[in-house]
């Protein structure tokens, strides 16, 4: 019976480049592979992606498997699960890592059930147990109020990794590796979905995931119009505007603003939380921030447990005054 060996990562491609998550999980995969004394490989699935294999090698992969087919241009569950099933059964990796992304949240569970194994989603930490040699998976549960460590012995051991939880390796363009093509071999009649349209609702300006400064509003803002003072503050600071879940769900701000467990994960230098209670689900998205500053009229709000500095009071009076002082200090 063939043996499961090696660490494999599912690489994501965005706008003709490797998505940031890919380098992050390669960094994580490299550590696990080193601990096991095994190889690290990456899988790239899509259409017109051949050129990106070398980039995956530059970020640490020893081997890259490329599945390039016009039918794979858009992510669809049926085609991507079938392709990954084929790749895994050919390569037999001991560990398979994916990103906790829009694709990962859909692909990983279905693939784990297809392969009759298991997957731990949204992991913050992965390690090899020195005794069992199995992967220990640490993930947030109860909205982020607790963390759970899982282990299991079905293979491949699968995990999705939270964005920004792991560090990429230094890019090394001189790194050498092996590139292998695998035929997709999809029967189009087995794809039971059809992508009709893709709509981007990204706001112009700095992307939240990349912003060094974020001003974020919560339920306490009360309306979409009330985000204008936050936008002014963000402009003065050279930052971006985000929100917790209620403003996005209520349609006060675009859904792209939503930071949290089921929204974006950000790790800016400065995170200013205005009218945000600090529920664990929201903190899951912003706890990686270097400095959290909270403004809330409830002195008992949970956000003050996560923040470094805070002011208790009404944002209607505090924000304009804060913005003015910031402009003064920054010479604007």
């Amino acid at each position: 019976m063939a043996e499961y060996k090696g660490v494999m990562i599912y690489g994501e491609v965005k706008e003709g480049k490797l998505a940031p998550i890919t380098a992050e999980i390669l960094g994580c995969g490299r550590k696990l592979a080193n601990d096991l004394g095994q190889d690290l490989c990456a899988v790239l699935v899509g259409s017109g992606i051949n050129d990106l294999a070398q980039e995956a090698i530059a970020f640490g992969a020893d081997k890259v498997y490329v599945v390039d087919d016009p039918l794979l241009k858009d992510y669809q569950t049926d085609s991507y699960v079938a392709v990954m099933e084929k790749v895994v059964k050919q390569v037999m990796p001991q560990i398979l890592l994916l990103g906790q992304t829009s694709i990962g949240r859909d692909l990983a569970p279905r693939l784990a059930f297809r392969l009759e194994t298991a997957v731990s989603m949204d992991c913050l930490e992965l390690a090899i147990d020195p005794d069992s040699k199995l992967m220990l998976q640490t993930r947030p549960v109860y909205g982020g109020n607790a963390q759970a460590i899982y282990s299991y012995d079905s293979h491949p051991q699968m995990a999705t990794v939270r964005a920004k939880a792991m560090s990429p390796l230094e890019r090394d363009a001189s790194r050498k590796g092996e590139v292998t093509t695998i035929e997709a071999g999809i029967d189009p009649s087995t794809i039971r979905t059809k992508v009709l349209n893709k709509v981007s609702q990204e706001v112009a300006g700095i992307k939240l995931e990349d912003a060094e400064i974020i001003v974020s509003g919560g339920r306490g803002m009360g309306s979409g119009d009330n985000f204008k003072p936050l936008e002014e503050l963000a402009k003065a600071l050279g930052g971006a505007v985000g929100s917790s879940r209620p403003p996005a769900d209520n349609g006060w701000v675009p859904e792209a603003y939503h930071i949290g467990l089921t929204g974006k994960v950000v790790a800016p230098n400065i995170y200013i939380a205005v009218g945000i209670s600090g529920a664990s689900q929201h903190l899951s998205g912003c706890s990686g921030s270097k400095h959290i500053i909270a403004i809330n009229k409830d002195p008992e709000a949970n956000i003050f447990r996560a923040a470094e500095f805070g002011v208790v009071g009404d944002w209607k009076q505090l924000i304009p005054a804060f913005t003015n002082k910031v402009k003064e200090l920054l010479g604007k």
Binding site: D106, K198, D249, A321, F322
Partner: protein, 266 residues
């Protein structure tokens, strides 16, 4: 249209974080005192999605829940919202499963229910947050699936679904029967009205034990798990928050800016 909606009873995830406690000896969460359990929030949205389809197309909505000693008032909420039937897998053997054993038991119950065009689930449960059971049910039953749906419309015997993506959404058509997991961007679930509450009170749920759905206790719940929970713990949050004050809100705000400048943050 016949829609089956899976709903899970959990500790209230909106309970204040300060009331959250883990018993590290048993790797279990201590239910917050005096806070009744609820239907997992995303599952409520799944019920709402099903009721919107019933409003538009007619048909039947069957709620399906699973656990041990389920609180009838809690699991009857879908009926109060407008669902027609309630099926409960209520037995110790069903409890404390992982994504695999949970999806397996629910899939077998759905097989027994028999007639359906759609199966809806919340995108993830408000306790374990795994987000796998919907996809797992689909895989076990051999059905197509879409996750993280914020809008579902039925046209020409197919579902047209808006799926939330990182930078917006995509519109995907899926053949029926299918499994769809629902996200909060769908909108507020409707409040039960008096008529619904009275109907729910009168309605007797169908209760099934493992033998009724043709599963062995060893394949379900805690015994049927594929994964092992090694440890459950509360991460310790370090650091104190420095509250900045002032004679007036304006002064406090200015002091905050000065504090940040002093700390070299600004």
């Amino acid at each position: 249209m016949n829609v089956i909606v899976c709903v899970k009873q959990i500790n209230d995830p909106e309970a204040p974080p300060s009331s959250f406690k883990v018993d590290s000896a048993t790797n279990k969460v201590v239910p917050p005192p005096g806070v009744p359990p609820v239907i997992s929030p995303y599952d409520e949205q799944a019920v709402e999605a099903a009721l919107r389809i019933k409003d538009a197309q007619g048909g039947k909505v069957t709620a399906l829940s699973m656990g041990a000693n389920l609180t009838r008032d809690v699991v009857k909420k879908p009926l109060a919202m407008g669902a027609d039937e309630l099926v409960l897998l209520d037995d110790e053997a069903f409890a404390e499963g992982d994504s695999w054993s949970t999806a397996y038991a629910l899939a077998m119950a759905i097989k027994k229910i028999g007639e359906y065009d759609l199966v809806f689930c919340g995108r993830q449960a408000g306790d374990w947050d795994a987000g796998q059971v919907g996809s797992g049910i689909a895989e076990i039953l051999g059905l197509p699936s879409i996750t993280i749906a914020r809008k579902i419309d039925i046209t020409d015997g197919k579902a047209k679904v808006e799926r939330v993506t990182a930078d917006g959404y995509e519109v995907v058509e899926i053949s029926l029967p299918a499994v769809i997991t629902v996200t909060s961007e769908l909108g507020e679930p409707r409040y039960p009205n008096i008529k619904g509450i009275m109907a729910a009170k009168r309605k007797e749920p169908t209760i099934w034990k493992p033998a009724d759905i043709g599963v062995d206790p060893s394949q379900i719940g805690n015994t049927g798990r594929r994964t092992k929970l090694m440890k459950l713990f509360q991460p310790i949050r370090e650091g104190e928050c420095e509250i900045v004050g002032g004679e007036s809100p304006e002064e406090a705000a200015a002091n905050l800016a000065l504090k940040l400048r002093e700390a070299k943050i600004l």
